[in-house]
């Protein structure tokens, strides 16, 4: 915890690995929220019509 974070250097792009991991996790969470069906009343998941 007391050590400085690692950094990714890609040309003019410089980003710390923790920040990069957080952004990747947020994008993954966003995609999961779009793709995973929301539970409906009655117990069964699914994106079908009501």
């Amino acid at each position: 915890m007391d050590n400085p974070a690692g950094y990714l250097h890609l040309g003019f792009i410089v980003i710390s690995l923790p920040n990069l991991a957080l952004i990747a996790a947020m994008i993954a969470l966003f995609l999961i929220a779009i793709l995973v069906p929301f539970p409906r009343e009655g117990g069964r998941g699914g994106g079908g019509s009501q």
């Binding site: 957080l22 947020m26 969470l29 966003f30 999961i32 929220a33 779009i34 995973v36 929301f38 409906r40 994106g47 019509s49 009501q50």
Partner: protein, 212 residues
């Protein structure tokens, strides 16, 4: 005594105007809905309410930190727990606020008269950044001193240094625990009322108010 009680003309009144505007825009039966359109059944719509839940934890832990003070939050295990609770609930607040922003951006949620809702949301985002920045400056440790010393030149160069002195702990702490939280809370309440008044925006390819 005159008997013209039934023909009384009401004088202009801003309280009555606000009352009538609210009654028209947000009838009490729509304030806390028990039904939502079908398209609201998506995890994307959960991001906003998680952001509000995180804000509740931010404010609750912040009230406790403000009550006991910096020595407590740095030197006692309970204080460090609440310090961490405050920090991590802020992380969740920002993560889910940005996810909420992404979701609303990609569904163009400013459509159908919802531009003010979008603009208030954008202002909440900017004010929250001020809250986070003043929070880093209010930690009362080397980190806050380091951030203040490094930030002062940028703030001064922007011209804001004339009334925003990042080296002044009292000013930063006052902003962080009073003015900015009040601003964020009021704006969030306005944002939610705006969402309730207009309803949730329909998907781009769906007619509005479908299948409610």
């Amino acid at each position: 005594m005159s008997d013209d009680v039934g023909t009384e003309v009401q004088a202009p009144s801003w309280t009555r105007a606000v009352q009538q505007r609210l009654a028209r825009g947000l009838p009490i039966e729509r304030l806390l809905p028990d039904r939502q359109p079908v398209y609201v059944g998506s995890w994307v719509y959960v991001f906003g309410v998680i952001t509000i839940a995180a804000l509740v934890w931010v404010i609750a832990s912040g009230v406790i930190l403000a009550f006991f003070g910096p020595q407590w939050w740095h030197t006692t295990s309970t204080g460090r727990f609440f310090n961490s609770l405050h920090f991590w609930s802020v992380q969740l607040f920002f993560v889910f606020m940005v996810l909420h922003l992404w979701g609303q951006f990609f569904m163009a949620s400013w459509r159908d008269g919802r531009a003010p809702t979008w603009m208030i949301g954008a202002i909440i985002f900017l004010v929250s950044i001020v809250a986070a920045f003043t929070g880093y400056l209010a930690q009362q440790n080397l980190d806050s001193q380091w951030i203040a010393a490094n930030a002062k030149d940028a703030v001064n160069a922007s011209g804001a240094g004339g009334f925003f002195n990042v080296l002044n702990f009292g000013q930063m702490y006052g902003l962080h625990v009073m003015l900015v939280p009040v601003a964020v809370t009021v704006l969030v309440v306005v944002h939610i009322v705006q969402v309730r008044m207009r309803g949730v925006v329909a998907p781009i390819d769906a007619p509005a108010e479908e299948s409610e």
